[in-house]
């Protein structure tokens, strides 16, 4: 039964949850939890903040599940909720020191990476946090999550040229930030 449930399409699970089978929501959480944790961590600069954001986004998605117009596209709808949560979080914490957040992400590096690689990751994560959320997001979706411009445009309901413009500004700003750090 468990494997059958886990193989069920998103839409079927969403409809079951809306019909009152709350426990099946756990399947959706398991399915997408880790996939979007990395996006949130790079957007927010800390694994702890990412954990809070992903958890809050799943709770909010459950509360608003009836508003998910196309249950078969649950994950795209969930992504937008998580995205808004990440943007709001960065706005609330924009006065906090990004260096601390970047260090927190890099802290786990030391066990499984060389010191130099760890330092390069820390420097880039620090520079990423200096971008605008829009710039950081397009960089994370393309270079961390590996999506194409076309896929990002579809997910964010925007155009490829505007994404490229945003990304190219991000490249310049990252270069400037990384040079200032060295």
């Amino acid at each position: 039964m468990r494997s059958e449930t886990e193989a069920s399409p998103d839409g079927e699970i969403v409809r079951a949850v809306l019909a009152g089978d709350r426990e099946r929501y756990a399947v959706l959480v398991e399915r997408y939890r880790d996939r979007y944790a990395r996006y949130a961590a790079r957007m927010l600069g800390s694994a702890d903040a990412a954990e809070d954001a992903v958890q809050d986004a799943f709770v909010r998605a459950y509360d608003q599940l009836a508003q998910c117009r196309d249950p078969d596209k649950f994950v795209g709808w969930f992504f937008l909720i998580l995205r808004n949560r990440c943007f709001a979080e960065r706005r609330r914490n924009r006065t906090s020191a990004p260096i601390e957040a970047a260090n927190a992400v890099a802290a786990a590096d030391r066990a499984d990476g060389g010191a130099e690689q760890s330092e390069q990751r820390r420097a880039l994560q620090h520079a990423l946090l200096e971008l605008t959320p829009d710039q950081r997001e397009v960089f994370v979706l393309k270079h961390v999550e590996g999506l194409s411009y076309g896929e990002i445009a579809e997910r964010l309901s925007t155009s490829v040229p505007s994404l490229k413009m945003r990304m190219h500004r991000a490249y310049d700003r990252l270069r400037e930030q990384l040079r200032e750090q060295t």
Binding site: R22, E23, Y25, A26, V29, E30, R33, D34, A37, R38, A41, R42, A47, A50, E51, V54, Q55, F58, V59, Y62, D63, R83, N84, R85, F87, A88, R91, R92, N93, R94, T95, V105, Q117, Q120, R121, A123, L124, Q125, T132, P133, D134, Q135, H143, V144, G146, Y149, L156, T158, K164, R166, M167, H168, Y171, D172, L174, R175, E176, L178, R179
Partner: protein, 198 residues
């Protein structure tokens, strides 16, 4: 293009459209710098095994559901249109104009089912793009873009439910500007949010 900007061909390299071998010799070193930047991208997965149990415990908490029902259930609110909202504040750098759903003179009150159309105006001649972020769009700076209407004015017209809304303009994706034509409150993090009460 400042001297600190990557050359457009190097940006194509970063985008994966060309390889470093396609760059002219004078751009190779800049291309290598760009590739070092990409090599530092952290793509390791992050696992959050605790989240499932926490989410399921939260959504199954009966006291929480009661709280949300209190918050979500519609309540009748009688509102009064404030005269200052109707006064043209165009002398200020930013202005807010209220359009009532019904034409003619302003209705003295409305209930919750009466939505109000609001036009937000910002004078920002040097801006490349302007967004409106607020409690009504989860502070998503890209959700409600303003349109340039000439003479450096940017506008957005949206419909909002009665109640209090907090907002700010976001210029070029990074500068958060409160509306000087509206009252403001501290957001608790050292910045000011504009307040609109409908």
């Amino acid at each position: 293009m400042s001297k600190r900007d990557f050359h457009p061909l190097v940006k194509q390299l970063l985008d994966g459209d060309i390889t470093i071998a396609d760059l002219p010799a004078e751009l190779r070193s800049e291309g290598e710098e760009a590739l070092r930047l990409l090599a530092a991208v952290d793509r390791r997965p992050l696992q959050l095994p605790e989240v499932t149990a926490r989410v399921m415990a939260t959504i199954g908490d009966p006291s929480r559901r009661k709280f949300w029902r209190r918050v979500i259930e519609p309540r009748e609110i009688r509102i009064r249109v404030r005269p200052w909202l109707l006064a043209p504040a165009l002398a200020a750098a930013a202005a807010l104009v209220l359009w009532l759903g019904r034409s003619g003179s302003p209705a003295p009150s409305s209930d919750l089912s009466g939505l109000v159309t609001v036009r937000f105006v910002l004078s920002a001649p040097d801006a490349h793009d302007v967004g409106l972020a607020g409690t009504f769009n989860q502070w998503d700076a890209s959700a409600t873009p303003l349109v340039r209407t000439g003479a450096g004015l940017w506008t957005a017209t949206i419909t909002l439910p009665a109640g209090e809304h907090q907002y700010a303009f976001v210029v070029d994706g990074e500068r958060w500007v409160p509306d000087p034509a509206a009252p403001a409150v501290d957001d608790g993090f050292g910045r000011r949010n504009s307040v609109l009460t409908l």
